[in-house]
Structure formats: C-alpha cells, structure tokens
Amino acid sequence: MIEFLKRLFGHQGSSATAKERLRLVLMTDHLELAPEMIETMKRELVDVISRHVEVDRDRIEVNFERQDRTLALLANIPILSVNRPNGKVAPAAAPERPKAETSKKSAAVSNGETKPPRKRRRRKKSQTTASQPA
C-alpha cells in the first residue's frame, strides 16, 4: 500500500521494480536449473510427512507458482491414512480418502490471499534476501 503510494508520488524509481523482478526471475531460474535439488526436496518433504501420515507417493505434485510478488511452493500430497491418533483429537483429516485434500495445519499464509483449501498442503513463502521496507 505504502509502496503503491510511493510509486504514485514518484518517490520510488523503476530501480525498485527492477530489483523485485530480478529477485523473482532469478529464483525461478535457479529452480529450473536445479531439477535434482527439487527431486531431493520432494523426497525429503514426503519423508517428513510420512512420519506422521501415510501418503500416496505416486501422486505427489510439487509445483512452484509465481504470484504477484512472491514465489510459492505448492505441494499436493494425497494422504492414504493417518497413523496412530495418539489419543489426541486428530486434526480434521479424514483417513482413507483416495485423494485427500485434507485441510491441514496450514503453515500460516500471511499474504492475505484467500485461496480455496484445494491444492494447499503446504505453502512456503520463499522471500529471500532483503525485501524492501514496504
């Protein structure tokens, strides 16, 4: 918002835009150039989640999505079953759903976006380096 006002009053030159665009494009470039890294990350991600719930490893989708000013990691990890309920109230996850889109312990999405719970298993904001004061 302040950003917008700044831009409106011409206080912020185009170099800020350049910086922002570069930051984003380089993140995507780096991801594109490191497919093995993504594979490893996917594997490790699934390993961690598998410690708690049983997932369908064959149907995992991990994608990167460029949003307005951020890059988001979107993972769709179908859950086959939830293991030991541990006595506690299990989170709102229905076990045995073929393609479970369980609403989850969502890692607080800050950006005020109201996406349907569809496709949101895990979302990581990757806001590298100094973002400007805003």
């Binding site: 170099s15 800020a16 910086k19 570069l22 470039d29």
Partner: protein, 284 residues
C-alpha cells in the same frame, strides 16, 4: 636459503610454479556490456603498472579488441593461425602502440567459434602464462562453445555487468556455469550515478545484493569512453580522467594492492539538496 615449505595452505589452483602468470577470462553472458572495452583498458592499466600482459581476443568471427586498442592495421596473424600451428605465438602477438609490455593476440575474423579446439586453447594459455604476468581473455557473448573455449584455459574470471535486469540475469547464469573454480570477481560497468540517485537505475548495492560477488570495480557510463574508443586509445592511458583512474584502481586491486573499496562515482548534490541538507531534511 630458499623456503621449502609454504607456511599457509594454498588453494589447489595455485600449486603451480610460483612464476606462472594469471590467466583471467573476462565474461558476461550478455553482449554489449563492455567486455572488450574493459579488457583493453584493464590490460593497459596492468601493463602500465609494469606487468607483462597478453590479451587474447577469443571472440572468433567478431574480432574487435584490435580496433578498440587501435591495432587493427597491425594484425597479420590471428588466434587460429597459432592454434593450427601455421605460425608461432610470437609471430602472432602484436605489441601495443601506446603501452609497453602489452600484447594482443587477435581473433580470426573469417572463422567460426566452433573452429577452436578447446585443448589447444588450453595449451596456448598455459604457454602464455609462462611468459606473461597476466593473460586476459576477452570472451565472446553467449554460453556456447565460444564461451567454453575462452574459459577453458583461464583460472580466474572477471564478470562484467551493467546495472540492467538482463545483464544481471545473464551474469548470474554465467557465474553458475563457471562454478567455484574461477573465483569470479565483479566489475559493474556503465553505472550512471545520477540515475541511481533518482532511483531509476539499479545501484551497485542492488546489483551485488543479487550477485553476491567480490566487487573489483565500478566504471561510470562515461562519454569519453566513446571518444577514446573512436580513436583506438584506451581511456586507461589517461589516469587524470576519473574513469581512466577507475581502471587503474581495478588493476591495482587485481594485483592484490590494498586500494580503497570500489565506490560508485560521486554525484554532485543538486542545489535543492544542498539547501535540503542545510535544513536537515532527509531525502532518499
């Protein structure tokens, strides 16, 4: 009594005999950012410090380093003549007309980059390193075989970047391709301090917040560069010119001299700003 053991561990790349010169490739990925101009000026500055310098124009098919140095009429043999054993390297090296101890090995104009054999290029650079303190290799734009050949014989890299999104992105890519072996250092070229101040151009800090490389120097976008290039006289011949001096600062830093860290060229405060600073108002 000579010292037998080195006191501190040396990086693997420097195990070679102590006398060997440094082979440095000047590269950028993107074309038109000033690789050739920087090579000519840095070579001039290094030679004027008393080093023996060989410049190799590796831009086969698009020979340009000769004309920037004003040596175009003296080229009789070129890089491929040497690589293909038609002439010796001494036959092909052209002595600079302004600076002692500065030599040019011109690119072949009528051939293609793919005609260069990587192994031969490596051997040539290795041979030159035995005779020169510095071998500067002017790399062609792009990241194809021409780039790989230019880089093959080098053991260090200087990456040239202008404060533009496209140049920064390409340098990022090139640095990724170079890997750790070349310990790339950054020269930011064509900086326009006035525009930076107005927030209309990426600053040195902006560029290097992204690239994160050791900063070797900053060169302003200086009209005199155009004039001197027109004449075939590198600006580094004129130390009294701020940009000429900036090349000498790069040379000194490269030689390991402890010169002050590279600063973007100064901008005179405008009248309004001077009034502003008197009043104590903060402007950014």
């Amino acid at each position: 009594m000579h010292q037998v053991e080195s006191v501190q561990p040396e990086p693997a790349a420097e195990v070679a005999p102590a006398k060997l010169g440094r082979a440095i490739v000047l590269t950028s990925g993107k074309g038109g950012v000033g690789k050739t101009t920087t090579t000519a000026n840095l070579g001039t500055a290094l030679a004027r410090r008393g080093s023996r310098v060989a410049l190799i124009d590796a831009d086969v098919g698009l020979r340009n380093l000769d004309i920037v140095l004003g040596l175009e009429s003296r080229v009789t043999h070129h890089l491929l003549d040497v690589l293909e054993d038609r002439v010796t390297v001494d036959d092909a090296l052209i002595g600079d007309k302004h600076t002692e101890n500065l030599f040019l090995l011109a690119a072949a104009q009528s051939r293609e980059k793919d005609d260069v054999e990587t192994a031969k290029m490596q051997a040539l650079v290795a041979a030159l390193r035995e005779r020169f303190d510095y071998v500067l290799i002017d790399c062609p734009a792009g990241i194809e075989l021409g780039f790989r050949n230019a880089v093959a014989g080098a053991d260090e890299a200087i990456v040239i970047c202008t404060p533009e999104v496209s140049a920064v992105r390409d340098v990022d890519r090139v640095v990724g391709l170079l890997g750790n072996r070349f310990r790339p250092q950054l020269v930011i070229n064509r900086l326009r301090p006035q525009l930076v101040k107005k927030g209309k151009m990426l600053s040195v800090e902006d560029v290097n917040a992204i690239l994160r490389l050791p900063l070797l120097g900053v060169i302003a976008d200086e009209p005199e560069i155009i004039v001197t290039t027109n004449r075939g006289e590198p600006l580094a011949l004129r130390k009294e010119n701020a940009t000429g001096a900036a090349y000498h600062a790069i040379a000194a830093r490269l030689a390991g001299e402890d010169v002050p860290p590279p600063m973007p060229p100064a901008v005179k405060p405008t009248l309004l700003e001077r009034i502003g600073s008197l009043v104590g108002r903060r402007r950014s």
